[in-house]
Amino acid sequence: MLEIKNLTKQYNENVIFKSLNLTVNDGEVLSVVGPSGIGKTTLIKIMAGLETANDGEIILNGNPINTNGESSDVNIGMIFQDFNLFPNYTVIENITLAPVNVSKQPKSEAIKQAKELLDSLGMLEKADLYPYQLSGGQKQRAAIARALAMNPQILAYDEPTSGLDEASTHQVTEVVKALKERGVTQVIITHDQPFAEAVSDRMFDFATEVQR
């Protein structure tokens, strides 16, 4: 369970949100919606350890996580809006790089796991391509595989369907549902109403539920 308690974020004098409270249950798919510029990306960046919170805390399964922006908790994975795949590595290397270098997994084991992940995402035949050789939807799935390879308890997505066509959006929908089956907790920022309705158990609307 992820508990966000009284979280406050401001950039200098500009208050983005104040005393934000939000609980995400295990295995839940939560959509985060709200108008542009309201602070959705900022919230998941704080969760992922990329931004500092000014006040409040985030508790994952009873343990507070670092919100000073200094380090990231590998239990929280993140899929960036523009994927941020590493251009100098192939798809499979993108996926195995962290398990091998951060989790110190044996390389053969990491490769085996990466192939299983790619297979489950319908991406196995793209394993040896570089990111620039992928379509938007394929990049999205490569980024999901890369995050999943670290076995995060929570996966946060920043607008995973923006810029994707209908077919790719459908594939992402299927991926989110499949991960839900496997019990992965997912937090999805999105502007895409049909997509949000198709995948989420619950919606969190910044515009109505957050003080500023």
Binding site: G49, F80, N84, L85, P87, N101, V102
Partner: protein, 213 residues
């Protein structure tokens, strides 16, 4: 032909000096340049200020003058280095300044998102630098780095001013002793061969680096 054979030994010993200056400069200025470029992003004002001053001086004055200053100027102040060491010091600190500017440009062109992705995956700062950032910087800087290396091949000839026996000096001596331009022609050909080799190696590495974009 037989004349060529008589001057080749002295040109070869000059070539040794030229190549020595060339390789030692590369070995020294690349890591120093990387360090300096990282220092430009330092949170400490003093460090950035010192580095900016250093780069301003190195790029704003001729290498020839820097060479003279380090060998004769420091010598007059009681800090003496042998000729060859003076040349190496001058070349390394001069080239490191140019390379630092190139590396800084390369570092800036790696998007913030690459650091974010690495951090979320748990990479340390050092792993992020060596495994993710540096390869991308290398790809970006290879063309301008290559230009500097070709400049360096030719710049090595400046060491004549402090009396080092490089290839140009060897040619010079032979030409004035034997009253002929032939040694100069030969020296020109040798520079051309060196720059051709560098160009070829650069093309190769650009091809290798083009497997990804």
């Amino acid at each position: 032909m037989s004349y060529l054979i008589t001057i080749i030994p002295s040109l070869m010993s000059g070539l040794k000096t030229t190549l020595g200056v060339f390789f030692l400069t590369i070995i020294g200025s690349v890591p120093l340049g990387i360090l300096v470029s990282l220092g430009m992003k330092s949170p400490y004002f003093t460090i950035r200020w010192l580095i900016n001053g250093y780069i301003w001086i190195m790029r704003g004055t001729p290498l020839l003058l820097q060479l003279i200053f380090i060998y004769y100027g420091l010598g007059m102040m009681g800090i003496t280095f042998p000729r060859f060491e003076s040349a190496i010091i001058a070349f390394i600190i001069n080239y490191a300044a140019y390379l630092a500017e190139i590396f800084r440009g390369g570092l800036q062109s790696v998007p913030r998102g690459q650091y974010d992705a690495a951090k979320v995956l748990g990479f340390s700062k050092i792993q992020t630098f060596f495994k993710i950032v540096l390869p991308q910087v290398i790809k970006i800087v290879v063309p301008s780095f290559g230009n500097e290396v070709i400049n360096l091949v030719k710049d090595t000839s400046l060491v004549y001013v402090i009396g080092l026996g490089d290839i140009l000096r060897a040619g010079n001596i032979a030409a004035s002793r034997d009253v002929t331009l032939t040694p100069y022609l030969l020296v020109g050909v040798m520079y051309l061969i060196m720059t051709a080799i560098v160009t070829l190696l650069l093309r190769r590495s650009e091809t290798v680096l083009n497997t990804w974009r």
